[in-house]
């Protein structure tokens, strides 16, 4: 992807105020995230965590300030941006007529993975979805649907991965596997931005936490963030 001339950080938010024209939710925030860094986004309900992620993705315009990815303003319409940024931020709507495996095929082939069949197998193994691979979405439980969404996010290569409360509705074993995988992804150079309420995820997979509190953002280390969640 073409990058800006002097991009020191992979992702940078400058004086960013988020919310809606009639209602500011949080800000101004300054955030710099380098390649391979893992930042958890934490805060009370309604503090603007999901709104921040949507603003970073360009789904919502900032009220003030700007967000840059690789030194360029975020642009969801750019093919390069879509290739480098993987997202799981909604509970997900599915194609009624596509099976679980076909949903993964859509993402894998859409991202040009040459060995897409093996990649699908790997994800089905990891998320223990083999038994439901040929089922349609309306035949899945809410936890299984969540696993499909996470599998679709992680099956593809990306420089930046954004997740919104990935721990929701997952059983403990899958959660632990997921946290280990996120940590490994980070070590291999992928940047992570994860909204979470789980202190374990912060401790195991992230190195810092952005605390959205009282309209401001403060960057804490992962342990301090986990302690804030446990208070």
């Amino acid at each position: 992807m073409q990058t800006g001339q002097r991009a020191k950080h992979q992702l940078e938010a400058k004086q960013l105020t988020i919310g809606y024209p009639q209602r500011t939710i949080c800000g101004p925030l300054n955030l710099q995230v380098s390649a391979g860094q893992g930042v958890g986004i934490i805060g009370a309900n309604g503090s603007g965590k999901s709104t921040l992620v949507r603003t970073i993705l360009g789904h919502l315009p900032p009220v003030h300030g700007e967000v840059e990815f690789l030194g360029l303003p975020v642009d969801e319409d750019s093919i390069a941006f879509r290739r480098e940024v993987a997202v799981q931020i909604t509970d997900g709507t599915f194609f009624e007529e596509l099976t679980v495996a076909e949903h993964l095929e859509l993402v894998a082939r859409g991202h040009g993975l040459p060995l897409w069949e093996q990649n699908i197998e790997k994800e089905l193994d990891f998320f223990e979805l083999h038994a439901v691979a040929e089922l349609l979405p309306n035949e899945l439980s809410s936890g299984q649907r969540r696993k499909v969404l996470l599998a679709a996010t992680l099956i593809r290569p990306a420089q930046l991965v954004l997740l919104d409360e990935p721990e929701q509705r997952l059983d403990l074993r899958i959660r632990q596997k997921l946290y280990a995988r996120l940590a490994q992804l980070r070590r291999s150079g992928t940047t992570l931005l994860v909204v979470t309420h789980d202190p374990q995820l912060l401790r195991e997979s992230m190195e810092s936490a952005l605390l959205l509190d009282e309209d401001q953002g403060a960057v804490l280390d992962a342990e301090a963030g986990a302690q804030w969640l446990e208070r």
Partner: protein, 533 residues
């Protein structure tokens, strides 16, 4: 693997093939289910259209007061045929506004979540989205055209198939033109600006109408000839042929421009338009006019402030009802209806007749039933409210019934007073009128209580819950019973409107009162309780 390898692999992949493959895989039973669903909906639409045709025709018959003497209103300078071109302009403006609300170019939630984020060219996705938008515009405009032709047929009393065919072609072309214009506006991200202009356009149309009304009242010859030539032109075949030719050339240019601009529509706009379309479909399924026409943020703020002030000193149950009425915008339908009736009676020839008055009462009865049931429904159906408010269910029902009676009495009283002031209703027997309004309000309240208690969410769940033909018939019968109950209790008002001097026979009062019993029983239960306290 290099970026170029990945791009080459990705560029060969077409998500449409995968989706099409999955669709083809469906077995016969699934295909048949999908076909029969579509068949039932199309059939239902055709039947609904037939009923709509009858209703519009009946309404025009009543408004013109065929065979009944009407009162000469000094300000009634319009006739319905002269107003029909205004309906055309309003229809086009409202359709453009609707299309801009809907996007009009949009992708479904599944496509937005799974296809749109892929690093592929989105030309195929956008192409099909534009195609759908043009189709929506064409169908919506053709529907408006059919309604308009029914109105015209009702007014002119004659039907020229060639003229109707030409007119329908014009409507279909106009729909495509408006949808492609909407797509171009969407690509520039200027929907809000254009919607503001549309608002101003409505004001301009209203001002033009008022100016012409003033000129016609003053017997201005020039204005008279303009209005007559406008009204005459809608029945002229050459007008429609010329319009079709002009529209066709405009459609070719505008569709080409929309196709060029389509790739500039942002992903955000495609996604949010898809959400709007989903919401609009939900509102349509629930026959929820309020849901489909969301108020502006400023209007919501105003309603919140007013609601807080008015409901501040009320008991908690009444606060819920009054806040729902104000903030939910339920007052708009009744208020708008009463204003429209008064404007029609005052300014349009022949409308000031007893038959119209009866139709106005009938329509208000049905409107109020649906309107009031929307306000009171939570008190009757949400069991947890009794725990949250610490009040027994019977008490909540009584408050709902009292609210329904007061609200209905106010609306019926305003209509009666207005028609009386304009001289359309003769209010000599004022006590009879009062009694008829009270009985009518009780009947409307009883009907709305019944409608609210059934807690029907939408048409699909209503009919989907019915497992066989008998239960479908029962469901439809209970819907019909609601309307009949409201209308039957308005019988004394109908009689007074049609024949103010005639005595109303006591069996009619008795039958009307019979339909008010559910509301009466609740209210009679309420008052002794209060008196004891």
């Amino acid at each position: 693997m290099s970026d170029s390898d990945i791009s080459a692999q990705a560029s060969e992949f077409d998500p449409r093939q995968l989706i099409l493959r999955a669709k083809r895989r469906r077995n016969f039973s699934e295909r048949f289910d999908s076909f029969s669903d579509a068949y039932v909906w199309v059939l239902a639409a055709v039947v609904a259209l037939a009923y709509l045709f009858s209703a519009i025709f009946g309404l025009i018959f009543a408004l013109l007061g065929q065979g009944v003497a009407h009162r000469q209103m000094p300000a009634a300078v319009w006739n319905l045929q002269e107003l029909s071109p205004v309906l055309l302009a309003l229809g086009a403006i409202y359709l453009l506004r609707l299309l801009l609300n809907l996007g009009p170019v949009a992708v479904s939630a599944a496509k937005a979540d799974w296809w749109l984020p892929l690093p592929l060219s989105s030309a195929a996705l956008r192409g099909s989205a534009l195609h759908n938008a043009l189709l929506i515009g064409m169908i919506a405009s053709s529907f408006i055209g059919v309604l308009w032709l029914i109105v015209l047929y009702g007014l002119a009393g004659a039907f020229d198939p060639l003229l109707a065919g030409c007119a329908l072609v014009c409507f279909a072309l106009a729909g495509i033109l408006l949808a492609s214009a909407g797509a171009v506006i969407q690509s520039f991200g200027q929907q809000r600006l254009v919607q503001r202009w549309i608002g101003r356009c409505m004001v301009v149309i209203a001002v033009v109408l008022v100016v012409f009304w003033g000129l016609l009242t003053a017997k201005n010859q020039c204005a008279q000839s303009v209005v007559e030539s406008m009204a005459g032109s809608v029945l002229n075949l050459s007008t429609w042929i010329c319009s079709a030719a002009i529209l066709l050339s405009l459609v070719i240019a505008s569709v080409w421009w929309a196709a060029q601009r389509n790739r500039h529509i942002s992903s955000k706009s495609l996604r949010s338009s898809g959400e709007y379309q989903q919401r609009a479909l939900g509102a349509l399924m629930q026959a929820d006019v309020l849901g489909g026409n969301a108020p502006s943020a400023a209007a919501i703020g105003r309603r919140r402030r007013w609601g807080r002030r008015i409901a501040a000193s009320l008991p908690v149950v009444w606060r819920i009802l009054v806040l729902r009425w104000i903030r939910g915008g339920y007052w708009q339908a009744t208020g708008g209806y009463l204003l429209l009736v008064m404007a029609l009676v005052t300014t349009v020839e022949q409308v000031a007749n007893p038959l119209s008055a009866m139709v106005f009462y009938l329509s208000l009865g049905v409107l109020l039933t649906i309107n009031v049931s929307g306000v009171i429904a939570p008190l009757l159906t949400q069991r947890q409210l009794t725990q949250h408010l610490g009040q027994p269910a019977a008490k909540l029902k009584q408050s709902a019934a009292l609210f329904a009676v007061i609200y209905s009495a106010m609306a019926l009283g305003l209509l009666t007073g207005g028609l009386g002031l304009l001289g359309v209703a003769e209010l000599d027997n004022v006590w009879w009128w009062c009694a008829a309004v009270v009985v009518g309000s009780l009947g409307v309240a009883a009907a709305s209580l019944g409608h609210a208690q059934r807690n029907e969410r939408d048409w699909e769940s209503l009919l989907g819950a019915a497992t066989n033909d008998t239960t479908v018939a029962l469901v439809l019968f209970s819907e019909l019973a609601t309307v009949v109950r409201a209308v039957a209790s308005l019988a004394p008002l109908f009689l007074l409107a049609l024949s103010p001097q005639a005595d109303i026979a006591w069996p009619l009062w008795a039958i009307s009162l019979l339909f008010t019993l559910p509301a009466l029983r609740l209210l009679v239960g309420a008052f002794p309780g209060r008196m004891r306290r």
